[in-house]
């Protein structure tokens, strides 16, 4: 037998052991008080803190809301490998969301919901659990119901292709925190895009039924695609200040990657136009009817126990 170093069978083998040695913390948090502990969160010169914070909320909410949707597959995926893959993708996005919401709170504390005195809820969790739908800035592609596995694959492909291109640019942000979050996210999104691209190809070239479901999912989600490339005033201001990315400038690169997947899959680009309503609905806090139910499920426990400690 190889000589394997092992830890003492104590702290990690007993879920209750940590409760005795750690400080009291919020019952629904992960107990790492500040994901940006010790990170310099000074807002760069010439950047409006409120603009930077709102911009971080936009990118953070995209990740948080899609993470919640993808997590619905946990325990429900077609097989164990895909269940784990989807859960890992949801976890990566949740991690990105946590850092981005924490960065938003550090840039502009005025955007963090106030809670009763003595509440142990950290800033990023206040933003996640104590804002209402109109305060969420995510694109609608992230929030619409997941549908079947094929539609889930289409959404992850569309979202990760766009977000990967965005994060590659964002890794050169003048804001060192955003640049670092983006550089790390690029590595994660590369896996998400490859995962979804391969499944897209597999379903497109699989059975008549798998192809039918894939094309249905693509047609259903395509009206939400244009919104990702519309520039909100906050995105424009963030881009001008050198901290953000103007999504309109990503279209050519993103289309080129998406066309590779479509061509390999023998699928033509849908022709349906954008969803009716204002183009910038999600970024302005206008969401679909189903978004309320998603938020209710995500937020209900935290809202019932804003002082919950253990």
């Amino acid at each position: 037998m190889p000589d394997v170093r092992t830890h003492e069978p104590d702290e990690h083998d007993n879920a209750y052991a940590g409760l005795l040695v750690n400080d009291v913390h919020w019952a629904f948090g992960t107990d790492f008080e500040d994901p940006l502990a010790g990170v310099d969160t000074t807002v760069p010169d010439g950047v409006d803190p409120a603009t930077l914070a709102t911009y971080c909320l936009m990118l953070g909410d995209d990740a948080l809301v899609l993470s919640q949707r993808i997590a619905e597959w946990c325990g429900n995926a077609p097989d164990l490998e895909e269940d784990i893959a989807l859960s890992n993708i949801a976890l990566d996005l949740l991690g990105q969301a946590r850092l981005l919401l924490a960065r938003a709170a550090a840039a502009d504390g005025a955007q963090v919901p106030a809670l009763p005195d003595g509440s142990p809820v950290p800033d990023e969790d206040r933003l996640a659990f104590f804002r209402d739908a109109p305060q969420f800035r995510n694109v609608r592609l992230a929030e619409v119901p997941g549908g079947d596995f094929a539609r889930t694959i289409v959404r992850i492909l569309l979202f990760s292709t766009w977000r990967l291109a965005l994060f590659e640019e964002l890794s050169r942000s003048r804001d060192a925190v955003l640049a670092a979050v983006a550089a790390k996210g690029v590595k994660e999104l590369t896996y998400h895009r490859d995962f979804a691209g391969r499944w897209f190809l597999t379903l497109a070239r699989g059975t008549d039924e798998s192809r039918r479901r894939l094309l249905t999912g693509l047609d259903e989600l395509w009206p939400l695609w244009a919104e990702l490339f519309e520039t909100h005033d906050v995105e424009r201001a963030a881009a001008l200040a050198g901290v953000g990315v103007d999504p309109a400038g990503l279209a050519a690169d993103v289309d080129a990657v998406l066309d590779q997947v479509l061509a390999a899959s023998g699928v033509t680009r849908p022709v349906s136009g954008p969803l009716p309503g204002t183009a910038l609905a999600g970024r302005d806090g206008q969401h679909t009817a189903e978004f309320g139910a998603l938020l209710a499920e995500m937020q209900v426990v935290a809202r019932a126990h804003p002082r919950g400690q253990w």
Binding site: I89, A165, A179, A183, E188
Partner: protein, 176 residues
């Protein structure tokens, strides 16, 4: 000697704090120390004897960060460093290239295939529609006749493989 006293004390404290922190193991890969994993980035002791440990997440959503922090604080406090804090370093992003040779050997000995060199690129990230090809060998029997089961394993940092020679499944730490 007298004027060198505090500096010598601080050197000794730093050496000791490094020893203690370097022995703390990863909560999910307990055959590896945080130092072997490349997650422990720095240890510093200030003039008052306060210790600051710097750690970096492997993945943005790594749920083990809290446990790592608690373990570092607990071990350092047990070694007499009452004032101990942990700070996060986000930049540069963690890469599997930081796993030490000792760490790679420990992974292999525990039946986990260690990562190859991390990808380096300039320009846009290329799309890969075919399974990722890696020079992976089965950690059980050494065969290179292995197949990917999933790019995502029991933790975000590992992929699932299966060996077609000995038929055993195993995990591979993904190159990032």
């Amino acid at each position: 000697m007298l004027q060198n006293g505090p500096a010598l004390d601080r050197d000794r404290a730093l050496t000791r704090a490094r020893e203690v922190a370097s022995a703390v193991v990863d909560p999910e890969l307990p055959m590896l120390t945080l130092a072997d994993l490349g997650v422990l980035r720095d240890i510093d002791v200030d003039a008052d004897g306060a210790v600051t440990a710097a750690i970096t997440p492997t993945y943005s959503g790594c749920p083990a960060m809290a446990a790592m922090r608690d373990d570092l604080v607990r071990e350092l406090q047990a070694a007499g460093f009452a004032d101990t804090r942990v700070r996060v370093v986000l930049e540069p992003a963690w890469t599997t290239d930081w796993i030490t040779p000792a760490g790679r050997a420990a992974l292999a000995a525990a039946g986990i295939s260690p990562p190859g060199p991390a990808p380096r690129r300039s320009g846009p990230v290329p799309l890969r529609l075919t399974p990722t090809r890696r020079a992976v060998r089965c950690p059980q029997c050494g065969s290179d006749d292995v197949v990917v089961g999933s790019e995502f394993g029991s933790t975000a940092c590992k992929a699932l493989y299966r060996c077609r020679s000995c038929l055993e499944p195993f995990e591979h730490v993904k190159e990032i």
